[in-house]
């Protein structure tokens, strides 16, 4: 698989200005240099807690927020430098589905107009062929043809998300960014939408960048998972490897905090974080997780760990991982003994 999307050292810094003179008094580091790639037909999940920068990454990729540093290449073309017709072409192939299907659909437009709008914007076909395409999309996302003339108000959250997905697919894109696309939905409806996304992936050969705070959802859905913390990626692995054992202490605490349905079975030991996430305004020299980490050593506060690829292909940014083994586990054990 060749990579479809390549993100290199992407950073987003938002200036904080003084109230009157609008002088820059501080900076919010929403994204502190992240690199990852998504191959054609692949689902990469980007997970992390609120404020970790995952939605900022999604928005920077579709250029809804301005990147301050780094590069994004889509299908071999630079997204950040693209203008005019090149940008237009990139946008055909790079679509986004948002979390809230109530605010992301215009309530004054009919469902047919909403789904057909990308086709009109990119002047695809004539009115009759666009109408046919919308009908086809409605069927593909599991909505009745009668939805065409109705307005969003007539639909439930799950059905609205189907409309948003149909709109994203109208131009047959190659990559769809799903920014918490199922997070606002009830669990039984989440499952329906995830199944729909899987089916559409097969039909269109789609790749997904799937942003979520819910590690449970990604287990079966994602091909690879990237875990974000404080604007950086700390670990990238397959869900199988991740759930078998995290390499980064942050991933470990995140996994141990997920509630699971198990009655009578002993729960895995919870790993508590010793402090809240670092301020997005701070720029510490070392690892951003150091204050929350129970295993930190002197080096962690002095030197930021680089992302290193382990022998089994997993990537992790932690000084205490050697040859694919989390050395912090044995460090913790020796402290206890």
């Amino acid at each position: 698989m060749t990579s479809l999307l390549d993100v290199e050292d992407l950073a987003v810094t938002i200036p904080v200005r003084s109230p009157v003179l609008r002088r820059r008094i501080a900076s919010i580091h929403a994204l502190r240099g992240v690199s990852f790639s998504v191959s054609a037909g692949e689902t990469l999940a980007l997970v992390g807690e609120s404020g970790s920068g995952k939605s900022t990454a999604a928005r920077a990729i579709v250029r809804l927020v301005q990147a301050t540093h780094g590069s994004i290449s889509f299908n071999g073309q630079s997204v950040l430098e693209a203008r005019g017709s090149v940008l237009h072409a990139i946008r055909r192939n790079l679509q986004i589905v948002f979390q809230d299907p109530y605010s992301s659909l215009n309530r004054r437009m009919s469902v047919g107009d909403i789904i057909g709008e990308p086709l009109r914007a990119h002047t695809v076909g004539d009115a009759a062929s666009r109408r046919r395409r919308v009908g086809e999309l409605l069927a593909q996302v599991g909505l009745d043809a009668s939805a065409f003339v109705q307005y969003p108000v007539a639909f439930s959250g799950g059905q609205r998300q189907r409309i948003a997905i149909a709109r994203a697919l109208a131009l047959s894109p190659r990559l769809v960014v799903c920014d918490e696309a199922v997070s606002a939905l009830d669990v039984s409806i989440q499952a329906q939408i995830l199944n729909l996304l899987q089916d559409l992936k097969r039909i269109y050969g789609l790749a997904y960048l799937f942003i979520t705070h819910d590690l449970g959802v990604v287990r079966r859905f994602a091909d690879r998972v990237a875990v974000m913390h404080a604007g950086r990626i700390v670990e990238i692995a397959t869900p199988e490897a991740l759930f078998a054992g995290a390499l980064h202490p942050y991933t470990h605490s995140l996994l141990s905090a997920i509630p699971r349905i198990s009655i009578g079975e002993p729960l895995p030991a919870r790993i508590r974080l010793v402090s809240p996430a670092p301020s997005p305004m701070s720029t510490p020299a070392g690892c951003l997780f150091v204050k929350r980490c129970a295993y930190a050593v002197a080096r962690c506060g002095a030197e930021a760990p680089a992302m290193r690829t382990q022998p089994d292909g997993r990537q992790v940014a932690c000084h205490l991982v050697e040859k694919g083994q989390p050395m912090w586990v044995s460090a913790a054990r020796s402290i206890k003994e």
Partner: protein
């Protein structure tokens, strides 16, 4: 401090919303009991009426929009819905029944200090002096894990993170030593690691104080850590109620079974499709004569056109409202 705790018994609670000529039965003939010190999980998907139920118990619904009726809602010997209900409520709510809401930032007044908000209702219910109330507020903040509590009392809500604010509202809910805590999705707005900490805190407080608990959530997995008993709500009705083992290991209502299967399938190793519940067809409303789950149910037949009531299945205390409950091992 150990206190005499009473049982909460709710008998035929109904809430009907009226707006723009439309009528919606949000809570439909709901009855249940929370034994002293027991923890009841109230679970259901959005719109099932679980939050309306909590608001109705607390008397917080706007009477202009919602009509609330009940045979009785008793905490011990006090009837919160009988004659003299207003006096009964002002003596009970906030004192014998504490409450925690989903969004602490909305639950707290942004322009009052945290100390002022904590002290006001302690002074009212416990008749404490300002000094005694401040001391007690600081002690409570320490108990819920807020460091530098005396300093925090002078601060405002916006200075604290969501997890810290939820600790403040927990301290407020506990201020008058309630017997029962109603928690409406108290961790839904929080991150997973913070959620786990808040759950630990509430469970520890419950153990140390012998508190009864009603925990409202859409998260079935979360309840496994919290609840002794579980009531499953669908379309304003309790469709199944039983011990946590009965509900999770021997679910009997087709809706409970489908919901559990759907959550469990998120955790299966296979890469096949997730288990879902079919959506109700467009336009089918919940104000049905018969079983409300009927339009989505794989087991429905003619009998389902009349309304099932809760009856015991299998073991005592395990009740289900279904004409065709699924036996163990069935699908």
């Amino acid at each position: 401090m150990s206190i005499a705790v009473s049982q909460l018994s709710v008998d035929r609670l109904n809430v009907v919303y009226r707006a723009a000529g439309q009528r919606r039965h949000a809570v439909d003939d709901v009855s249940f009991v929370v034994a002293p010190g027991e923890s009841l999980g109230l679970v259901g998907e959005s719109g099932c009426g679980k939050s309306t139920l909590a608001m109705a118990l607390l008397g917080l619904l706007d009477p202009e929009l919602a009509r609330t009726r009940a045979n009785s809602v008793r905490l011990g010997d006090i009837d919160l819905f009988g004659p003299g209900a207003d006096a009964a409520r002002s003596q009970t709510l906030g004192k014998r029944i504490g409450v925690i809401f989903q969004n602490p930032l909305v639950a707290l007044n942004p322009v009052l200090t945290i100390g002022r908000q904590m002290m006001d209702h302690m002074r009212w219910h416990l008749k404490l002096s300002a000094e005694a109330a401040r001391e007690r507020a600081a002690a409570l903040l320490s108990e819920v894990g807020i460091v530098d509590a005396a300093h925090r009392l002078a601060g405002y809500p916006h200075e604290l993170s969501g997890g810290m604010l939820q600790r403040v509202t927990i301290a407020m809910a506990l201020a008058c030593e309630p017997e029962l805590l109603i928690a409406d999705e108290p961790t839904t707005a929080l991150d997973a690691t913070v959620q786990a900490e808040i759950v630990d805190l509430i469970l520890a407080l419950r153990r140390s104080r012998g508190l009864g608990l009603i925990w409202i959530t859409h998260d079935l997995a979360l309840l496994t850590r919290i609840a002794d008993r579980v009531a499953v709500m669908y379309a304003g009705r309790i469709v199944e109620i039983g011990s946590i083992t009965q509900i999770y290991n021997r679910p009997s209502h087709p809706y409970t079974r489908a919901l559990l299967a759907s959550v469990r399938s998120m955790w299966e190793e296979s890469k096949g499709p997730f288990r879902t519940i079919p959506s109700a067809p467009l336009g089918s409303d919940t104000d049905l004569e018969g079983c409300a789950f009927r339009p989505r149910c794989a087991h429905q037949d003619k009998t389902c056109a009349s309304r099932p009531s809760l009856v015991v299945v299998g073991e005592a205390d395990h009740e289900v409202a279904c004409w065709r409950p699924v036996a163990e091992g069935g699908t």
